[in-house]
Symmetry: C2
Subunit: 240 residues, 2 copies
């Protein structure tokens, strides 16, 4: 088998710094984790919060701490620092090769899309962001690694796209129809969802948007790990 | 402009865990850094060392510490822990959007390939791994971001490929000819170099091999950041 993970990420229109932070890290006992956080509001302040949360989580994961415990720790740290005045959403996707599963940890009101055996599911169980109280619990979903599995998760910029114009995006429905139509790569899937949202926002995203698409495939037979990162510099130069 | 970074990574033959560790992290003041370390020997012990070095470096970069200082700190920490008995190579590539440059930090005897204005250079200046003494200095090269720039760096598994059979690989020469022949993506370039080395090792890599290729291109006009990670699971399942 092969696990492919793709990310597509764009800033809120006319804001030079995304409040979303995403990092991919190796797990000390094999496998890797994707950590995605969305800090409240946008711009520099939101970036500082989401970066703090992601740093905290990847630091703990690197020490072998379990995902749920890392999410709780990040929530407690954020609550202690901001006293509930600033919140942050968190998603962790861990490909755990010890258990042969994908573990999804979620502290994010935004839904999550899972397709197994051609059966599409929209996970909408209520989930609370980090930093809201002393007792924040993450929702944890564990799924066996098998070819055909597709998972899509995102920050609320995607679910809120189009709201300004009274045409909110039904992310799970769009994801399901994209998967049905074509056998796209995870990057094409993430790109298509992002492009759909940006169109609904008439080319001017109303919020930072991050989309992560994961696909488990039959192996292509080679044992090379690969990674590609593409960063447009115009958008980044604006950061400074 | 757009910066594209690609990685191709393979384990030493019949060894389930790579001694090479690579992470990509966002810089707190804009831009991002690729950190690549190769711990002495191979397998679990080497992995622990390279992971320790990469963790140390990315933790410091996240606090805004400059690359050279982060490399020195990681060297001192390794020397203090292992008393010079275990060494580790380190390469840091930072796309610094504040200065509009790529900063290359190197503590690695393996060479480095740079192509600017169609002029290929092989950087072979002597460079000492981390942890060898109390006074390890990194070599730092700073290059302006401009379309057409290509940089390739690697662990010594690539430069030593073929040695067992008396046919050592001249990495810079192969890289230069690959660039001349075709306008390949960084992923194709990294994949081709890795495949060339694995062929010289007759399909059984004599060491862990990691190749990082960076290319600066004219922008394609969209402001989306993208990332793809592909991990074969057979090779990873063996890790456990």
């Amino acid at each position: 088998m092969e696990v492919q993970i793709a990310v597509a990420k764009v800033n809120k229109y006319a804001i030079s710094e995304s409040g979303d932070t995403l990092e991919v890290v190796e797990r000390p006992n094999g496998g890797f984790s994707v950590v995605l956080a969305d800090g409240q509001t946008s711009g520099r302040g939101a970036k500082a919060v989401s970066q703090m949360v992601v740093r905290k989580v990847i630091g703990l994961l690197a020490e072998g701490v379990r995902d749920g415990a890392a999410a709780r720790a990040a929530s407690d740290a954020l609550f202690t620092e901001k006293q509930g005045k600033v919140i942050c959403t968190l998603n962790i996707v861990s490909v755990d090769l010890h258990s042969g599963t994908i573990v999804l940890t979620r502290n994010n009101p935004a839904s999550m899309f899972i397709c197994r055996n051609n059966q599409a599911d929209c996970i909408t169980t209520e989930s609370i962001p980090l930093g809201t109280s002393r007792n924040v619990r993450p929702l944890i979903t564990e799924i066996g690694l098998e070819p055909g599995l597709v998972i899509v998760l995102y920050t609320d910029g995607l679910t809120h796209a189009g709201e300004r114009h009274g045409e909110p995006m039904d992310v799970c429905e769009v994801a399901a129809s994209l998967i049905e139509e074509q056998n796209s790569t995870p990057q094409q899937l993430a790109d298509s969802l992002l492009a759909y949202a940006v169109r609904l926002d008439e080319g001017r995203p109303a919020d930072d948007i991050s989309v992560v698409a994961i696909k488990v495939l039959q192996s292509n037979g080679d044992s090379v790990r690969r990674m590609t990162v593409r960063v447009p510099i115009n958008s980044v130069k604006a950061i400074r």
